[in-house]
Amino acid sequence: MDDAAERYLEELRRNLKPLPEEDRSEAVREIESHIAEGQADGRPTSAVLAGLGDARTLARAYVADYHLRVPRDETLGSVASFVLSSAFISGTGLLSLFVVPLLALLTSLAGLLAIAMPIAGVLRTFRVPGIVMGDAGGWHVPILWSFPASLVLAAAFAVLAWAGYKLLRGYLRLVLAGYRKLLPFRSVPG
């Protein structure tokens, strides 16, 4: 094995992460064997690797296939798994009803505010009336500092929007992964 081959196998291994360890090392071992056969065949390593195609694409083919696997027939068979599935579906369903709109609202609101803040800052710099920057105790941000202060606020809202988006995405992923496990997928040919 030379450097290029090692790098290819390492890249493949890294991208096969969603697979169980056993499948992962089996796949890497077989591709390693393929590369060695190609080299023994007198082909340059670069040609063998080019023939295999991009390591990430190859890994994706393995992983995509893994998700389409034929499930064990007892997926919904036993009472225990039936109860668990029902609890999971109704539990996440109920939870999603609150979590998803709340996070979506938070994200879009924070995003809008992050855009609106600098605009308000500029307007206040030009003494447009009706824009208050200060606390209830009567302290106000000096007019000249309106724009920098608004930028700080905008950054805070942007962070909030980003966090909301990440949370929502993570939550959806988690729930979808759960559903994927439950669904009685049949293998799709090809």
């Binding site: 071992r29 077989e30 190609g38 023939g51 296939d65 034929v70």
Partner: protein, 117 residues
């Protein structure tokens, strides 16, 4: 390139049939299989695509595999058809013959219509 995508889909579907047929003739390891497929230009796929396919065929118990030492070089993973795989190959072969015959006739009919009118 509409035809390009279309023909790559056809190839993907028929690759499974060809792989099963090649394994049926004798136990084969991946590299051997890839080299065998290269003999026919339309079947020569990216070599990598054969391996995830083999993995799936093994999981679906259409083929079984075992690692064997080779005289020179690294161990090889040999694939053989299971009885289930053999049944499947028979049915797929029959389906393929039927399908290709039907397509041939359909294309012929179209040719005739063109020349008559």
């Amino acid at each position: 390139m509409r035809a390009g995508e279309w023909s790559s889909q056809i190839r993907r579907g028929t690759l499974e049939l060809c792989v099963l047929a090649l394994i049926a003739s004798k136990p084969r390891y991946g590299y051997d299989l890839v080299s065998a497929l290269k003999r026919w230009e339309p079947l020569a796929t990216t070599e990598g695509t054969v391996y995830p396919l083999l993995r799936r065929l093994q999981r679906e118990e259409k083929v079984e595999a075992s690692w064997e030492e080779s005289a020179a070089g690294p161990p090889r993973k040999y694939y053989r058809l299971t009885p289930h795989g053999r049944d499947l190959l028979e049915r797929m072969t029959a389906d393929w013959a039927e399908l290709s015959e039907a397509v041939r006739e359909a294309l012929l009919t179209e040719e005739e219509a063109k020349s008559h009118g």
